[in-house]
Symmetry: C2
Subunit: 154 residues, 2 copies
DNA sequence: CTAGGATGGTCAACGAGGTTGTCCATATAG
DNA sequence: CTATATGGACAACCTCGTTGACCATCCTAG
């Protein structure tokens, strides 16, 4: 009786979830209790130069209205601001605030800490084997940002 | 420059997504277009002998009401039936129909096929290293069904 | 045998977050 | 200048998970 095929995707999901849950517990303890898993993808999609709600919706794989609601929510939480574009009166550019940048930095540090914990538990070689195997089996290059839209249909 | 910590969860998610998308495409082409990715895990949780909605909720980590709604939905799609338990008039046992068993069998075969493809690409030992590492780092026992809500809400 | 607690199922209200449809303001191409 | 495309906002609706409440049924301790 070999390993059943369903175990692999299940473990992948559980691993992702375990890391994300741990990260958000850290973030909550560091002054970001309202951040949710999808917000990291939203911050990445906004990018350093900011973007519009419509463009954000395209990047995230959701409608512009849904993106607009998310932006409004993050604005209430103080993570983003919307400023009018002098070059185009229709556009309202969404930008990360200092608080948003702080959350982004803490997320990066948190992911590094969690990886170090995996490394201590598994050992450097076994963790490297996992990462190397996943690197081989998953597409390289740009990480897709349409995760929120994809997750909704799960 | 060592591996950034954010790569691991991203690769885990990408791997999960790749497998699930591939299986979903197969199932849709085999007469199960309404089956959504997480339903396979629900079928696994129901098991060959059937269960109650309350027990299903416990196994999936959601409320009994949510499990009941999922059962109702799967019942409309023809994948499960609910039959009264003669030994306990409170219980309504959820069982897989022939269609449900067919979907379960095709899912299992699909997952196995995809795992074999990973094994051919990575080699048996490297795939085993990935699975073993994930097995070490992820908790046993729960097939989380609340994934969409988890991703958006917490 | 009965009283009290635990368990299973269902109904109702709510919230988060997504969707489509519509409308208006503004840009831009022909 | 006009026609089309785009960005933003509003409204109605859907899906799905949650909690709270309620009732029927089982089980166990007196």
């Amino acid at each position: 009786m070999s390993t059943p095929g369903y175990e692999l995707p299940l473990r992948l999901l559980l691993g992702f979830r375990a890391i994300v849950d741990e990260l958000h517990a850290e973030l909550a303890a560091q002054g970001h209790p309202d951040l949710r898993p999808m917000h990291g993808f939203v911050f990445q999609a906004i990018g350093p130069d900011g973007t519009t709600a419509a463009e954000l919706g395209r990047r995230l794989g959701v409608s512009k209205q849904a993106a607009g609601k998310t932006v409004e929510h993050l604005e209430r939480l103080g993570y983003v601001t919307r400023v009018g574009d002098p070059a185009d009166a229709r556009r309202k550019v969404v930008r990360l605030t200092d608080r948003g940048l702080d959350a982004l930095a803490r997320s990066a540090q948190g992911f590094d800490r969690i990886r170090e914990r995996w490394e201590r538990t598994l050992g450097a070689d076994r963790l490297a084997a996992v990462e190397e195997g996943l690197r081989t089996m998953t597409p390289d290059g740009h990480f897709p940002l349409d995760v929120p839209g994809w997750f909704a249909n799960l």
